[in-house]
C-alpha cells in the first residue's frame, strides 16, 4: 500500500519536474508577423511577445534565453512568440531602433506589462518576471515590517502565509517562489520582499540569498497572538518549496494504533522520517502535549505521530518510548529509549551525522528488557537461590539408595530437576540421577510419587502446594477403598466417626454397597476407588446383610452412598452398569459443592463444568443472607446454567486483581458478577445500588438472559503471544556474511549513554581502536552497558581464564 502511494507521488513529482525542466526541441520559438501574432491571441490566455526588427541578427543571447523559456512558460499556459516587425506591417510595439526592442506580455489582447530586454537577462528572470506580473494579486510585494504585520493581522484565523525573501527580482529563487505561487497562490497568501532589513526585523539570523517562511495564521484566533513561523531550511528551489508546503499541509500530529512499520503518511512519501511517540491511555494527555511540542519543532523535517500502545496489536519493546522510522523503503523500525525531547530533535536533525558515528553503536546496543527475567517461577527460584531450605527433613535419594529406601518404607518421592511422619519424605535430583528418573517414568519435573509397599507407585496429580500434598498423603494412609466389615462400622464410616482425623481433608465419604455376588461391579468400584485415592475417602461394603443399609438409605444395589459431613447428609446414587470412568465421574461431581468458596486451588475443578461463573466477591466471610438467597435460587433451578460461587478476598487475595480488571478500580464489596469465561468473555455486574436479595438477583438474571444488560467489560480473547522478541541470529549471521554491519532486531538505543562523555568512555574508545574488528563488538557492548558493569563485566572477564 505504502509503496503504491509512494509511486503515485513519484509520478507527481516527475510531472512537476517535466513541467519545469523539460526542454523540447520541437517547442522552439515561433516567429510570426505582427498581424499573424495578434490574430493568434486568445481571450484570457497570456502571451509573451518579443518584437524585433526583421533584419536583426538571427541569434542573440536574449533570444537564446527566450527560446529556453518557451517550454516552461507554455507549461504555465503562456505562449511565447517572436514577432518580426516587417516594414509593411508596422505595429506600435515595434520599436524604432534595433536596441530598443521590448518584450510585451498580453492577456488576451490586453497589454499587461512591457519589459526591456535587459530585465529579462536569463531564463529565470523571464519566467520570474512573467509570473510575477501575472500573479500580481496572489503575490504581495512588500517593503516594510508594517506591511507584513498588516497582512498577518488581516489573515489571522483565515489563511496561512508563505513569506519569502529573495535578494532580487528575477533570481532563480524568485523564479522558484513564483512557480510555487502559481500552484499554491490561491491557497496561501504569498508575500515577497527583497528588503534585507525586513528580514532582520523578524529575527532571521545568518541571512542568505533567500528564505522561505510559512506563517501559521489560520489557526490563530486571538489577534494579539503572533502567527507561528516555520522556516524552510532547505535551499529555495521549486521542489523544496513544494515538499515543504506539503508537510505544512499535513496534520501536525496524527494518532495511530497500528504497527509502525505499516503506517504511511505524506512524510514518508516526501522522504522524511517518522517519529512515533509511544503513549498509553494513562499518560495520553501529557504525551500528546509532548508530541505536539516535538511536532512543532520537527515541522518540515519529520512526521510526528502518537502511537497508542494500549490498542496496539504488535508488541514493541517494553521500555521503548520513541519509535523512529526512516523514509527509505525497507529501513528497519528503530525502537529507542530517549529521555529528553531534545534527543529526538537531534536524532532527526542530525540523522545522517548520527548514523555515521553510530554504526557500531546501533548494532551493539540491545533492548534492555530481553535480558530481564519475565518468568515469575524462574525469577523466584533464582531470587531464592541462596535461601537455605530445611532439606534435612527429607532424605536425598540416589541411584544406589532409591530401591532400598522405597522397598523398606512407604515413601513420598519428589522428583525434581536441579533446579515433604511415618511416611518417609524423600527427594531425587533428576539432574544428577537421570537414569533413575527415566526408570521411574519421570519425564517432567517436578513430580511427586508415592511408593507403598506391595502397591504400584501413585503419581500425585494435584496442586504442588503443602496443603494439597498433605491431603494426598493423609488420605493415602487408608486403603482405597476401605473394606467395611459390619453394618455398625459402615454407620461409623458414614457418620465420619471412623476416620475422624481424615474428615477435614475429605468433605465426602463414599461407600459402595454391593451384594456379595456382584463381582464385576465390585471390581469396577475398587478400580475407581484406586483411581480416586488421595482425593476422597472411599469404602466398600458387600456383606450378606447389605440390604439393611440399602433399605435404610433407600438405595437399590449396587449403590453409592455419599456422606456429606459438613451438611450431615447421606445421599444415595444408583450406578448399575456404570463403568470405572462413570463411577469416577459420579464421585468427582459429588465432590463439587453447590455454592463453593472459590480458591486458587479449586477453581480448575469448577471451570471444568464449562458454565459461566456467578461470583460473589466478599471481603471476609460471606453474609449468611446472601448464601441463603443464592441457595434458594439454586434450589429453584434458576442458576442451572451458571456455576454460583463466592470468593473471599481474605483467603484469595488474587481476587483483588480480578476485580480491578473488571472494574478498573476496587469497587465496594460485596458485589456479584457473572463471568462468561467460555463463550464471549463478557462480564456483567449486579447493580451495586441494589440489595443482594433473591428477587433482585432473579430479576437481574432474567434481564441478563434476555440480553438487556450490557457487559461492564469483555475479557480479552487474544492468544498468548511471545512476551518479547528473540535475538534474530539468522539475520545477524546473514549480515556478517554479506560484510555489512550487523543490525539487530529489535533496535533499542540507549541514547543516554551516548550523551555521557565521561572519562571512562574515552578510555574505552581509545583502546577499542587498537583491537581487531572481531573483538570489537563484545567490548563495545560492555561500554554501552557500563552501568550494568556490576554483574555483566564480571561475567565477561571471568570466562576463559
Amino acid at each position: 500500500m505504502m509503496s503504491s502511494s509512494f509511486n503515485i507521488y513519484r509520478v507527481g513529482i516527475s510531472f512537476v519536474m517535466m513541467c519545469i525542466f523539460y526542454k523540447s526541441a520541437v517547442d522552439s520559438l515561433s516567429e510570426l508577423s505582427p498581424q499573424k501574432y495578434f490574430s493568434t491571441l486568445q481571450p484570457g490566455k497570456a502571451s509573451l511577445a518579443y518584437f524585433c526588427q526583421a533584419d536583426s541578427p538571427r541569434t542573440s543571447i536574449f533570444l537564446e534565453e527566450l527560446n529556453e523559456a518557451v517550454k516552461p512558460l507554455q507549461d504555465f499556459g503562456i505562449s511565447v512568440a517572436k514577432v518580426n516587425c516587417v516594414k509593411e506591417e508596422t505595429s506600435r510595439y515595434c520599436g524604432k531602433e534595433k536596441d530598443l526592442m521590448k518584450v510585451y506580455l498580453f492577456r488576451g489582447n490586453i497589454l499587461l506589462r512591457e519589459f526591456p530586454t535587459d530585465t529579462l537577462f536569463d531564463v529565470n528572470a523571464i519566467i520570474a518576471h512573467v509570473l510575477f506580473a501575472l500573479l500580481f494579486n496572489e503575490v504581495k510585494y512588500i517593503t516594510t515590517l508594517e506591511d507584513l504585520q498588516n497582512i498577518e493581522n488581516s489573515l489571522k484565523g483565515k489563511a496561512n502565509i508563505a513569506f519569502s525573501y529573495v535578494r532580487a527580482i528575477g533570481t532563480p529563487e524568485h523564479r522558484a517562489v513564483m512557480e510555487a505561487a502559481f500552484v499554491y497562490g490561491t491557497t496561501y497568501q504569498f508575500v515577497l520582499t527583497t528588503e534585507i532589513a525586513l528580514l532582520e526585523s523578524i529575527g532571521t539570523e545568518a541571512i542568505e540569498n533567500a528564505h522561505f517562511y510559512f506563517f501559521h495564521c489560520k489557526q490563530v484566533l486571538d489577534l494579539t497572538q503572533q502567527c507561528r513561523r516555520t522556516l524552510m531550511e532547505q535551499p529555495l528551489a521549486t521542489l523544496n518549496i513544494h515538499r515543504f508546503i506539503k508537510t505544512m499541509e499535513a496534520p501536525l500530529l496524527t494518532e495511530v494504533a497500528e504497527d509502525p512499520q505499516q503506517v504511511s503518511t505524506v512524510h514518508l512519501q516526501l522522504g522524511l522520517p517518522l517519529v512515533f511517540i509511544v503513549s498509553q491511555q494513562a499518560t495520553h494527555e501529557a504525551d500528546r502535549r509532548t508530541a505536539e511540542w516535538v511536532a512543532w519543532r520537527l515541522l518540515g523535517k519529520a512526521g510526528v505521530l502518537l502511537l497508542l500502545r494500549d490498542s496496539l496489536e504488535v508488541d514493541i519493546p517494553q521500555h521503548a518510548n520513541v519509535v523512529f522510522r526512516r523514509a527509505e523503503e525497507g529501513a528497519p523500525v528503530e525502537f529507542l529509549v530517549l529521555h529528553d525531547t531534545e534527543l529526538i530533535i537531534s536524532r532527526v536533525e542530525g540523522n545522517t551525522h548520527i548514523e555515521e558515528m553510530q554504526e557500531d553503536e546501533d548494532e551493539d546496543v540491545q533492548s534492555p528488557d530481553m535480558d530481564i527475567q519475565d518468568d515469575e517461577v524462574a525469577e523466584t527460584v533464582y531470587r531464592h537461590r541462596k535461601t537455605q531450605l530445611p532439606l534435612e527433613l527429607t532424605v536425598e535419594l540416589t541411584e544406589e539408595t532409591f530401591n532400598a529406601t522405597v522397598v523398606a518404607s512407604d515413601s513420598i518421592v519428589l522428583f525434581y530437576a536441579g533446579c515433604t511422619s511415618t511416611m518417609l519424605l524423600t527427594r531425587v535430583n533428576c539432574a544428577d540421577w537421570s537414569d533413575l528418573c527415566t526408570k521411574q517414568n519421570v519425564t517432567e519435573f517436578p513430580v511427586v510419587k508415592m511408593y507403598k509397599e506391595g502397591k504400584h507407585p501413585v503419581s500425585y496429580a494435584g496442586m504442588l502446594g503443602a496443603e494439597d500434598l498433605l491431603k494426598f498423603i493423609l488420605l493415602n494412609r487408608i486403603s482405597c477403598p476401605v473394606n467395611i466389615t459390619s453394618v455398625q462400622e459402615a454407620e461409623e464410616y458414614l457418620s465420619g466417626e471412623l476416620y475422624k482425623d481424615l474428615i477435614p481433608y475429605s468433605s465426602v465419604s463414599v461407600l459402595g454397597l454391593f451384594s456379595p455376588n456382584m463381582t464385576t461391579a465390585k471390581e469396577d468400584f475398587t478400580k475407581a476407588g484406586n483411581y480416586l485415592r488421595g482425593c476422597v475417602i472411599t469404602g466398600i461394603y458387600s456383606e450378606e446383610d447389605v440390604l439393611i443399609l440399602s433399605n435404610k438409605y433407600g438405595a437399590t444395589l449396587p449403590a453409592l452412598l455419599l456422606a456429606r459431613h459438613k451438611e450431615g447428609k447421606v445421599e444415595s446414587i444408583p450406578f448399575a452398569n456404570s463403568r470405572v470412568q462413570d463411577i469416577v465421574q459420579i464421585v468427582t461431581n459429588a465432590l463439587l459443592e453447590t455454592f463453593p468458596e472459590i480458591t486458587v486451588e479449586n477453581l480448575p475443578v469448577y471451570l471444568r463444568l464449562q458454565k459461566p461463573l456467578l461470583i460473589l466477591f466478599s471481603d471476609g466471610s460471606i453474609n449468611p443472607q446472601y448464601t441463603k438467597a443464592i441457595l434458594t435460587l439454586v434450589k429453584e433451578k434458576h442458576l442451572d446454567s451458571l456455576t454460583p460461587c463466592w470468593l473471599n478476598l481474605k483467603n484469595t487475595p488474587a481476587g483483588r486483581g480480578v476485580l480491578q480488571t473488571y472494574f478498573n478500580a476496587l469497587p465496594p464489596l460485596p458485589l456479584i458478577v457473572v463471568v462468561n469465561l467460555h463463550s464471549g468473555g463478557q462480564v456483567f455486574a449486579f447493580p451495586s445500588e441494589q440489595a443482594i436479595t433473591e428477587q433482585n438477583l432473579l430479576l437481574w438474571l432474567k434481564k441478563l438472559e434476555a440480553g438487556l444488560e450490557s457487559p461492564i467489560t469483555i475479557l480479552p480473547a487474544q492468544e498468548w503471544k511471545p512476551p518479547l522478541p528473540a535475538y534474530d541470529f539468522l539475520s545477524m549471521m546473514d549480515a556478517a556474511a554479506s560484510q555489512h554491519p550487523t543490525r539487530k532486531e529489535p533496535e533499542c538505543t540507549k541514547e543516554t549513554n551516548m550523551q555521557k562523555n565521561d572519562k571512562k568512555q574515552h578510555e574505552d574508545k581509545s583502546t577499542i581502536r587498537k583491537e581487531p574488528v572481531e573483538t570489537l563488538r563484545i567490548k563495545h557492548w560492555n561500554r554501552s552497558n557500563w552501568f550494568k558493569e556490576g554483574d555483566k563485566s564480571f561475567r565477561h572477564d571471568n570466562k576463559e581464564l
Partner: protein, 678 residues
Amino acid sequence: MSLLAAAGLWGPPGLLLTFALHPALSGPPHRDYCVLGAGPAGLQMAYFLQRAGRDYAVFERAPRPGSFFTRYPRHRKLISINKRHTGKANAEFNLRHDWNSLLSHDARLLFRHYSSAYFPDAGDMVRYLDDFADRLGLHVLYNTTIAHVTLNKDRQAWNGHYFILTDQMGHAHRCSVLLVATGLSVPNQVDFPGSEYTEGYESVSVDPKDFEGQNVLILGRGNSAFETAENILGVTNFIHMLSRSRVRLSWATHYVGDLRAINNGLLDTYQLKSLDGLLESDLTDLAIVKDREGKFRVTLKFFLEEGNQSADAITLPQDDNDNFAMRVAYDRVIRCLGWNFDFSIFDKSLRLSSGGEFSKKYPLVKASYESKGSRGLFVLGTASHSVDYRKSAGGFIHGFRYTARAVHRLLEHRHHGVAWPSTEHPISQLTSSIVRRINEASGLYQMFGVLADVVLLKENATAFEYLEELPMQMLAQLETITGRRARHGLFVINMEYGRNFSGPDKDVFFHDRSVGHTEDAWQSNFLHPVIYYYRHLPTEQEVRFRPADWALPRPTAIHHIVEDFLTDWTAPVGHILPLRRFLENCLDTDLRSFYAESCFLFALTHQKLPPFCQQGYLRTQGLVGTESLRRHGEERRFPQGYATVGRRREDGAQGPEGGPLAPGPPLLQPHDSNKEEL
C-alpha cells in the same frame, strides 16, 4: 589383528563341530544380523541387538575380544581420557568425559572401574572388552576368521539379498544384515624407492635402548608417529619427522584424531632447536638409498630415475644444494603412516568402495552408515569414520558407541517396525527438555555435527515428541527412517564450534576468543548448543545443497546458546531465557511458567490461558507459591501485582530484575517514568 590370525586357527574344537553340522541340514546357518569383529564397535552393536532380543552373531578371528588392543598402541598408552571424577553424579553427563566405556545398562561396566590412569594402559582396554562381552553374555564366535563375504540375491531377503560369509574352514554363514566393525587393520604403506628399508610402526622395537645414539627419521605426523618419537626422544641423537603436510594439533583443530598434546614432546624440542626437527615433503617424491656404511640417505626419486647408478653414485640433493635439510645419514627410518580398511575380504558384488579423495582409507558409506553399494551392509566403528573424518569423534569409542546405537535404532524401525524411541511432552516442557539434554547428553556432545536431537511438534504446537541422537544428515528422510511424523515443524538441537575457530593454523588462544553475552552467542567459538527451527522438514535436495559451512540447510530461525566456560547451560538469564524467547517466537506463544495464583487470575480475566496454565493449573496441577514467596512478592509488588493484568501497573515501577508477572496479551509497559522527562 593380523598377527593373531594364526592363533585363530586353533580355536576350541567344539565350536568348529557345531558349524560343521549345520550346513548339512538346510543350507548355511542363518542369522538376521552378522557383526564382523568383536572390537569395541562390534561389541557395542552386539549389546544393542542382544537387548532388543534379535537374532545375531559376532564373528571374531581372535580368541578374545579387542585383539587390536593386545598389540596397539605399541607403547601401550591409550590417549582416550579416562576421567573418573567430574564432581557430578549424572551418569549421562559423566560419559562426556569417559572416552573408553561402551554403553550398557550395567554401571559396573564403566571403564573407570578398570583403570585409574587418566591415559589408561591398552591392556586394561582388552580386559574391559573381555568383561563386557562376558558379563552381558554377548554372542561372539571367536576364532572365526571370515575370509570372504559375498552377496546372494534372494527375493525373500529383507534387503533383496543375503550376505554369505565364508570362514577359514570354508563354512558359510547367511546373514540378512551385515554389520562391519573390523576397524582399520592394514598398515598404510607409501610406495617409493627404498621403502623396503623402512621399519613399520607395527613391528618397530619399542625398547628405547635399541635407539641409543642413533639418527632417526620418522615418516608420518600422526599420533602413532609422535608416540614413537616420544618413546625414544631422550636416547637418540636426533629425530627428524617427515610428512606431506603440516602437523595438525588437536587442540587447534578440535578433532581428537589429530596430534594430542600428550604426544607432542618433539614439537617442544624442535622449536627450542634441540636437534630434533619437523619437515614437510611429499613422500612419493622421495627415495631412500643405503650407503656404504649401511646408513640411509634421503634423495629424490627424480635423481634415481636419471640412470642406473650404483648406490654410491646416486645423486644426492646436497650435491647441488649443500645446505639441504636432510643431508645427514640416518640409522633408522620408521614408517608411521596409519591404517587402512581391509577391503580384501569383500566380494566385488558388494560394491564396497573406498571413500573419496580425502578418506581413501575408509569404505564409502551414507550418513546412515549404510554402504552406498549394497543395502543392508552397515559399517560401524573406526571404519565408519568417513562420515565425520577430521570433524568429530565417530572414529573413536566415545563417538561410535553413539553412532552404533543410531544404526541399531534405524534397523529396529526398518526390520521390526519399532519406531525411533521418543518421549512426548506438553509444550510447556519444551524449554526444560532441551535444557536438560544440552546439559547432560553425551552423544550430542561427542558427535557434534553428526548426531542431533530432534523435537517434532504436534498440531498447533500444544505438544511435542523428543527424538535423541538422530544422524543429522538424514534429516530429510526422518519420517521414513524413524517412523515418526514431522508435519508441524521441528527443532534440531546440535552442538557446534564457531565457524572459523578450528583449524591446524588457527590461533585458538587469541584474546577475546570467548563470547560472554547472549546477543553475541552466534559468534561463540567453543562447543555450544545451536537450535535450528524448520517450519517444514527440509528436503534431501536442501540438505545436500545446503550452504557451505552449514551443518544443516538454512532454517526458518536459528538460536545459539552462548558458549559456557563450564559447559553448564543452566544460567536462568544467560542461557535459558534467550532460549525460551527463541522457542516462543518460533511457536508464536508464551512459554513462561506461572504460579497457580497467576493462572487463577488469568483464568478469571482472560478467555485464553498461556500453555503453562492450560497444561498445568487447569488440570489441577498448578504450582502453589509458598507464604515466603508471597510475602516477598508483596514487597516487590509481584506476584501480587494483580493490578497489572489487563491494566496498567499503578506505580509503573518495575524492579531491576523485571516484573515477571507482566501478562502476555496485551503487553503493558510501565514506562511513564521515562515520559515525565520528555
